[in-house]
């Protein structure tokens, strides 16, 4: 970075970052100053940049999660000034640019908070609960055999599009973090709908919705009260219409005959 571009676009920020040594340790906000932050940095690059100074001074760097850094893996996610993934809509933390902030700003950075997401360290939380919800039915059981013909099963374009909208969920957990009740309804409903909409997912639909809702409840998430903060925070703008679909799927499952679990001898 040249000096001129630094002086032209750089800013000085105050960070209040949640520091916590481990899952059952007490945590608190710690103050850092971030000097010469370029407006072209992503939010995570800014944290990397601050961490370099912290490491140089011999202290423990700020821990946070990231992987793809292009908004597709769902690994990143912190709560920035009270908003999961920061102030921009349809943006993951890794896609958030520092130009969203102004010189002199104070930024409060907290982890995604929910009982179901225990803090591992600082801003890193364990989102295994979402994986366990998936394991409870978020899949399609298929016979693995020769490669099937593409388009052997016709799917109308609007249905395919809708399933794709649900499948856009990257499982980052921002919905849980944004929900006043820490509910995982948006995540769970997106995964249920994505499969329930498609012919391949229909045979197991009743068992899937039953299992996934049951697991969601077991993980200690709160309940949906239809407030919709999840939709606003979702980096993929997954709609709460899928929550309505989950309700319909559940209602159907209450009355539909349910095929028995895979592996116990068939229907």
């Amino acid at each position: 970075m040249s000096n001129t571009s630094q002086s032209r676009h750089s800013m000085h920020l105050t960070l209040l970052v949640w520091r916590q040594e481990g899952p059952h340790k007490p945590g608190s906000l710690e103050k850092f100053t971030a000097k010469n932050v370029s407006e072209d940095m992503s939010f995570l690059e800014m944290l990397d940049f601050v961490n370099e100074d912290i490491i140089k001074s011999g202290k423990r760097p700020i821990e946070f999660d990231s992987d793809c850094r292009e908004g597709i893996c769902g690994c990143c996610g912190v709560v920035i000034n009270g908003q999961p993934h920061g102030p921009d809509r349809a943006t993951a933390t890794c896609q958030l640019h520092m130009r969203t902030f102004k010189d002199g700003d104070t930024i409060v950075i907290e982890p995604l908070r929910a009982k179901a997401f225990p803090i591992i360290k600082d801003l890193v939380v364990d989102r295994g609960a979402l994986d366990r919800v998936m394991s409870a039915g978020g899949f399609v059981s298929v016979k693995t055999g020769p490669h099937a013909d593409a388009n052997a099963i016709l799917i109308p374009k609007p249905i395919a599009d809708l399933a794709m909208d649900a499948a856009a969920c990257i499982g980052c957990g921002a919905c849980v973090a944004a929900c006043p009740n820490a509910s995982a309804a948006l995540f769970t409903s997106a995964k249920i709908s994505q499969l329930a909409l498609l012919p391949q997912g229909k045979p197991e639909a009743a068992r899937r919705v039953t299992g996934m809702v049951e697991q969601m409840d077991k993980e200690g998430f709160g309940n949906c009260t239809n407030i919709g903060e999840c939709r606003a925070a979702c980096p993929k703008e997954v709609s709460i219409d899928f929550i309505a679909k989950m309700k319909r799927e559940y209602f159907k499952a209450m009355f539909a005959p349910m095929e028995s679990a895979a592996g116990d001898g068939g229907a």
Partner: protein, 239 residues
């Protein structure tokens, strides 16, 4: 098939109970307001006759009352069970919380349903106690009821109560909370049942807000109307 017990104790099932009881209560208050429109007349004959007619249904009205009590309890108990679960779901609070706006339905009303609901619950107990179990024929609150013979002058009791500024303010306050509750409830109840559709969501939410305003204003104007004797004042002005 999900066993009913398991289904209704799941988070989704509890919301089915919440939404079912809530929407039924919504139906009740519509009927209740329609009946109470008779209070907008200064002359109490119509209102007293309406109350006496309801009473005359005997066993049927008692069955309906028991049904209403069951709905209220079902609604309030599942509300509390759900709320207890939310409280546990985020043990450590955020130091800053800010809505991202957009299509979020986060409002003062939607975030405080348990408070508006709790106040309504307490109000309903006092309301029934003071009117239904208030002074009647034995205390001399009588009126001529035509075919019904001598009937209770409930209108007099209502008018007397609504000349007390404290009671009037309390009613107006609670009816504003009811409006808030309904603002979120209409849309939420339908969404909880999955009865929403992307095409109608905006319209349903809008309809819900109008429903809330009409009911809230419809109820809260009754004590104000009586306190300021608006039927005489306004109708007098027209004449």
């Amino acid at each position: 098939m999900i066993p009913l017990r398991k289904a209704l104790s799941s988070s989704v099932g509890k919301k089915f109970i919440m939404a079912f009881s809530g929407l039924c209560l919504g139906g009740f208050i519509v009927v209740h307001l329609l009946g109470n429109l008779a209070l907008y007349r200064a002359d109490g004959a119509a209102f007293n006759l309406y109350a006496a007619t309801l009473e005359s249904f005997g066993k049927f009205i008692i069955a309906a009352e028991l049904g209403l009590i069951a709905l209220f309890l079902l609604h309030a108990i599942s509300a509390m069970l759900l709320k207890l679960n939310h409280w546990g779901a985020r043990p450590e609070r955020y130091s800053v919380v800010k809505s991202k706006g957009g299509e979020s339905k986060s409002t003062l009303a939607s975030r405080n349903m348990i408070i508006s609901g709790g106040v309504i619950f307490a109000f309903v107990i006092l309301h029934v106690w003071s009117f239904k179990y208030g002074p009647g024929i034995t205390e001399g609150y009588t009126a001529a009821g035509g075919a019904h013979g001598e009937i209770r002058d409930l209108h007099r009791l209502v008018v007397e109560s609504f000349h007390n500024p404290l009671i009037v303010s309390a009613y107006v306050f609670v009816m504003l909370l009811l409006g808030g509750h309904l603002w979120h409830a209409f849309w939420s109840g339908l969404q909880s049942f999955g009865l929403t559709n992307p095409r109608y969501t905006k319209g349903l939410y809008c309809l819900g807000s109008m429903f809330a305003v009409v009911l809230s204003v419809g109820f809260l104007m009754i004590p104000i109307w009586i306190f300021f004797d608006l039927s005489t004042v306004l109708l007098g002005a027209i004449k």
